[in-house]
């Protein structure tokens, strides 16, 4: 991969939902490049298309028109299995409500993406233990999600997102459900990860959270309103 080439490249991306006769245009021709190692916040009022954009970036959805290149690969031409493959290997998701699997313990949750890549149990276990330590949960490795605080659960989710060493981390209101103390811890972890070279894309409507990033992209009505680097 050419290091000068952006890691994420959106070219006139449109996404519309048809609800019977009405067509809702969630994204109307968005063009955006994100380079490797960037820390970017996507902001904007409710209904402006943030979640739609994040779903596209996360390969959970495909654009109605336009092109999306992730690490040079055109996503719009791929089938469902290939998209699953890319989600598992190149992307890491961090959700507002943590989205851990309740019946699995901390280590098992971290291992889930590795399981779908067919990694050996032993290798997966080593990686999971390493990541649990990295997010400060070495004493909680066999706990179930309901035995953990919100901040701890979100740290498990971050460890899980890191398990397959992805190109890009995608966070959707990652601190939205947390008290300010836990939120600060998570943002501190993001800073650390970005300092270590991870590309981070987060969606937030909280400007104090957005301030932590190095680039703020604002959307309005499915279009780019502003794009500020700092």
């Amino acid at each position: 991969m050419n290091p000068l080439q952006p890691i994420v490249s959106l070219q006139s991306v449109r996404r519309s939902y048809s609800l019977g006769d009405v067509v809702v245009e969630a994204l109307r021709g968005l063009t955006l490049d994100i380079a490797a190692g960037e820390y970017i916040a996507i902001m904007g009022p409710s209904g402006c298309g943030k979640s739609t954009l994040l779903n596209l970036l996360g390969c959970l959805d495909r654009p109605t028109s336009g092109r999306y290149l992730l690490g040079g690969t055109d996503i719009s031409s791929l089938d469902d299995d290939s998209l699953s493959e890319i989600r598992g290997r190149r992307l890491g998701f961090i959700f507002q409500s943590y989205n851990l699997i309740q019946q699995l313990n901390v280590l098992e949750n971290i291992e889930v993406p590795l399981f779908y890549q067919g990694r050996s149990d032993k290798e997966a276990r080593e990686i999971a233990i390493g990541l649990a330590k990295r997010v400060g949960l070495e004493k909680r490795m066999d706990h179930k999600p309901f035995e953990l605080s919100g901040g701890q659960q979100q740290r498990v989710a971050i460890a899980r997102a890191l398990a397959s060493d992805p190109l890009v981390l995608l966070a959707d209101e990652a601190t939205g459900n947390l008290d300010s103390g836990s939120g600060r811890e998570i943002l501190g972890l993001f800073d650390e990860l970005n300092a270590a070279g991870k590309t981070l894309i987060m969606v937030t409507h909280d400007s104090s959270v957005g301030e932590r990033s190095h680039r703020i992209v604002r959307l309005r009505d499915g279009q780019l309103e502003s794009d500020n680097r700092r």
Partner: protein, 387 residues
């Protein structure tokens, strides 16, 4: 269910086989009341049943008949000094044991020579031998009937309850042991007329033969010969004072009954499988709906559609497999209990628990497939938004 069915039909088939699949049995039957009216005269002799001429006619006119075993049956007390046993004294021929599959356990059956000479020899049924001679071997000893003494030359093998029931007659008769003497001897000692004391008044009956077994050389001819025998008997007997039993026919009938029984059982099993399968499908559909969010998470973390399908299929098979294992346990335990409590024979064929388990796992796959596919086809974005 199948175990009980197998057991019941096995018992019935053993019973019929003991009569011989190549045999046709003719029995003398006292004519029913309304038929008797024509000949009824108080204190006269009631004359009925199979005649010696019937035997010679059968032998002479029906091809395929190999041997004929005639038998007279008299109800008598048999004595050993002071011990008394109520028995059926059967006057018959020396080849009775081979024909009726009733073997001699000890000593021998009486021979053709005994028969020609009209000797007072006998073979005892096993139960009466035990009762008359509890401490010693009866061979060479004598038993007494009325004023006649008979030398014991052999003891028969025990007749299983099933084998004893070769007539389908009342159970009281089954339990009576038989003692065998040469037919010629029986004729000499008893003549043609038998007296019976019935409801306080003497009634005389003249019966030549009580039972005749006709052996056919080829099992495939049995049905044809039996029709010929029935026809011949009908032409020569005005009254229906006989009964023709064809063990092979009974066997066929039992087999047919068994088939019907199996079909009914099979249908019940099929319906229960269907009901169970739909139950599994419902549980799995509820399970899939409840875990929509989890499905979304797994898809976001790299699970392909087939990973999700497989996960829910395995769960469905585990569910039905546990059900199947419980079913197999019950299916093995219940026949044991039935055998123990109801004194009924049950047979568990080796394949039936195996098949039951395999089928229940298969039901899991079949009925789990739809919910699993539904889970896999979910849109990841929708699934993640669930709740």
């Amino acid at each position: 269910m199948l175990a009980i069915g197998e057991g019941a039909s096995y018992e019935a088939q053993e019973q019929i086989k003991s009569l011989g699949a190549q045999n046709i049995i003719i029995r003398s039957v006292k004519p029913s009341e309304d038929q008797k009216v024509t000949t009824q005269q108080n204190n006269s002799t009631l004359d009925y049943g199979i005649k010696y001429e019937d035997i010679s006619r059968i032998q002479a006119t029906i091809p395929g008949v190999v041997t004929i075993v005639p038998a007279r049956v008299m109800r008598e007390y048999v004595w050993n000094i002071t011990v008394r046993v109520d028995a059926e004294v059967v006057g018959t021929v020396s080849w009775y044991p081979t024909m009726r599959n009733h073997r001699v356990a000890e000593g021998r059956f009486f021979s053709e020579i005994d028969q020609l000479a009209g000797e007072n020899v006998c073979a005892l049924g096993s139960e009466m031998a035990r009762r008359l001679f509890p401490m010693e071997t009866p061979l060479g000893k004598a038993v007494r009937i009325g004023s006649q003494y008979y030398r014991v030359v052999g003891v028969m093998e025990p007749v299983s309850r099933a084998k004893g029931d070769d007539t389908g007659q009342s159970s009281a008769q089954q339990s009576v042991d038989r003692m065998f003497i040469p037919l010629s001897t029986a004729k000499q000692r008893y003549g043609e007329i038998l007296f019976k004391n019935r409801s306080g008044s003497f009634e005389r009956e003249r019966v030549a033969l009580h039972e005749v077994t006709v052996k056919v050389d080829d099992p495939s001819k049995v049905i044809g010969v039996s029709l010929a025998v029935k026809d011949l008997m009908e032409r020569n007997h005005k009254k229906k004072d006989y009964d023709v039993v064809v063990p092979l026919e009974l066997l066929r009938q039992k087999e047919k009954t068994k088939r019907i029984f199996n079909i009914v059982l099979g249908s019940i099993a099929a319906i229960s499988l269907l009901v169970g399968g739909i139950g599994i499908m419902n549980i799995m559909l509820a399970n899939v709906t409840e875990r929509t969010r989890e499905i979304g998470i797994r898809r976001a973390l790299g699970a392909k559609q087939r990973d999700i399908t497989l996960q829910f299929l395995i769960e469905a098979v585990l569910l039905s497999g546990v059900g199947g294992a419980l079913g197999v346990l019950l299916g093995v335990a219940i026949p044991f209990a039935v055998s123990a409590l109801a004194d009924m024979k049950t047979i568990i064929t080796v394949w039936s628990p195996l098949a039951a388990f395999t089928i229940s796992a298969l039901v899991g796959v079949i009925f789990g497939l739809y919910p699993a596919l539904r889970a896999a086809k979910m849109d990841p974005v929708e699934a993640l938004r669930h709740e």
